[in-house]
Amino acid sequence: MTRYAMVIDLNTCVGCNACMAACAMENQTEVWNDVWRTYVHDKEIGTGEYAHRRFFPRLCNHCDNPPCMSVCPTGATYRLDNGIVKVDQALCMGCRACAMACPYDARHEVTYADVRTGREFYGSDYRRTRPSMDKCTFCDHRLAAGQQPACVETCVGSARMFCDLDDPDDPVTRIVESGVARPLMPHLGTRPNVYYIDDMKRRG
């Protein structure tokens, strides 16, 4: 079995946004509408003299227990055996229940107007035919072709890493198993598959 997961090392994410651009181009997202499958936040944290800047990439966590899927009335949101949670644009009616259910703000809408703009913007190569909710797919089409997700592939800080949690020899899996990489808000019971390595330990 394969269980995909992503590990993001906040210690080397430089907030360059290459992942955002890569994802947009790879997945033909609606950049004109300021929606993204992945974002990198640029945050000021800490107090007074100890203010600091933190870059925080985020995307769909491909939860093992995805609330977005259980609320989906059409079955458009589904989960593959390898853990990837996807939206079928042909089934989705765009009720947005999934967006309401997702605790990670990982979904955005694609409207009829977007589909029209997309045809102009991406031209003959445009793959989308219907409006729907959209989100990160872990670039499963690239995984199928033996490639890494677009954002991982290009991450100039090597902050994004990808692995198969069922492969104990995968060095990235070992990072997860070691416990230094931890998921966001696991108490919600979503069982997320995106793990973060904290960057705060190095500073007092």
């Binding site: 609330p67 609320v71 989906c72 458009a76 989705c92 259910a101 694609v110 009829y112 904290d198």
Partner: protein, 319 residues
């Protein structure tokens, strides 16, 4: 991971879904109450016709709100298909849609015999033509024969709709205000309370039948109970939200600093009608005006409840 959190309310499901939830609960409860009244209290043509059709119209309007906001209107076909319950049994919208459809279906069937004896429908152009068709008459006969069964089918689906509106909101785990068992309860109680108010309004303003007094009194009493239950639920929500979950505490801060919620909903939507109806039940009113006013307030309050609940769910985002 320990990270800084930011807190946000959503802007995805806004007033239109509040209307959907409101009309859904109100319409379905109205239908159910009138059918029950008709079956067990007193056969009542006008009440059934009003109840069935306003239920259907309200649900249609509410559903239209939802439908209009869909991203892909054609794909709605997937939830109209009854098999959806086998594929997506965990999705409340799937249940809700089926409840709505079948409530409407059984509701029309139940009302059909009454339509034949209603001067209004006899004159209603188009509808009267349809009622003349042979197979429609056949159905009306069957409907008369299986009145109780059909009535219960409609009622069950109606109650389903009312409960569903709460279950739907409850199914979003990120927001503590929504993700708790109190919400379906609150929405169901509110649905029936608004339905009572709606029917009282109807009976005081449109139907005016002195013979219905006992029904009105019953409705008033039930409504009084429902409002008190609602007040208890709101109070326990306050208790639940004031400690524990950060998301809930933020919702609480938003709600209990909002005059629309405090004065609009709790004050004029619950407490004032409660007092008006209490006095009506204890001492009686000489005029209809206080009860009519109370009913109107309850109806507005019903919308406000859903509006504020939708707008004040707080997501806690770890970035």
């Amino acid at each position: 991971m320990d990270v800084t959190m930011s807190y946000a309310t959503q802007d995805i499901w806004t007033w239109w879904i509040a209307i959907y939830l409101y009309f859904g609960g109100l319409g379905a409860a109205t239908l159910a109450v009138t059918f029950l009244t008709d079956m067990y209290l007193k056969p009542h043509r006008d009440l059934v016709l009003w109840g069935a059709w306003s239920g259907i119209v309200l649900l249609a309007l509410g559903s239209l709100m939802l439908f209009g906001h869909l991203l892909d209107h054609v794909a709605v076909i997937h939830v109209l298909n009854p098999l959806v319950l086998f594929y997506q049994p965990h999705a409340w919208i799937a249940w809700g849609t089926q409840f709505i459809i079948w409530m409407m279906f059984w509701g029309v069937l139940y009302a059909l015999p009454y339509m034949y004896i209603s001067p209004f429908f006899q004159k209603l152009w188009g509808v009267n033509r349809v009622m003349d068709w042979g197979w429609v008459q056949k159905i009306a006969e069957l409907s008369t024969r299986y009145r109780k069964f059909i009535g219960w089918m409609a009622t069950i689906n109606g109650v389903g709709v009312a409960v569903y509106t709460g279950l739907l909101v409850q199914s979003f785990p990120a927001v503590a205000l929504w993700h708790n068992p109190g919400i379906p309860l609150l929405f169901t109680v509110s649905a029936f309370s608004t339905a009572m108010a709606f029917l009282l309004l109807l009976m005081y303003v449109v139907i005016h039948d002195a013979a219905d007094d006992h029904i009105r009194v019953l409705y008033e009493r039930i409504d009084l109970v429902l409002i008190s239950v609602e007040l208890v639920i709101i109070f326990s929500f306050y208790q639940f939200m004031s400690s524990g979950d950060e998301s809930a505490m933020r919702s609480l801060q938003l709600l209990w600093n909002d005059l629309g919620w405090l004065i609009g909903f709790i004050g004029f939507g619950l407490v004032v009608p409660f007092l008006l109806e209490l006095r009506g039940v204890l001492k009686g009113w000489t005029s209809h005006v206080p009860i009519v006013a109370a009913s109107l307030l309850i109806l507005v309050g019903g919308y406000l409840l859903r509006h504020y609940i939708m707008y004040n769910g707080v997501y806690a985002y770890p970035w």
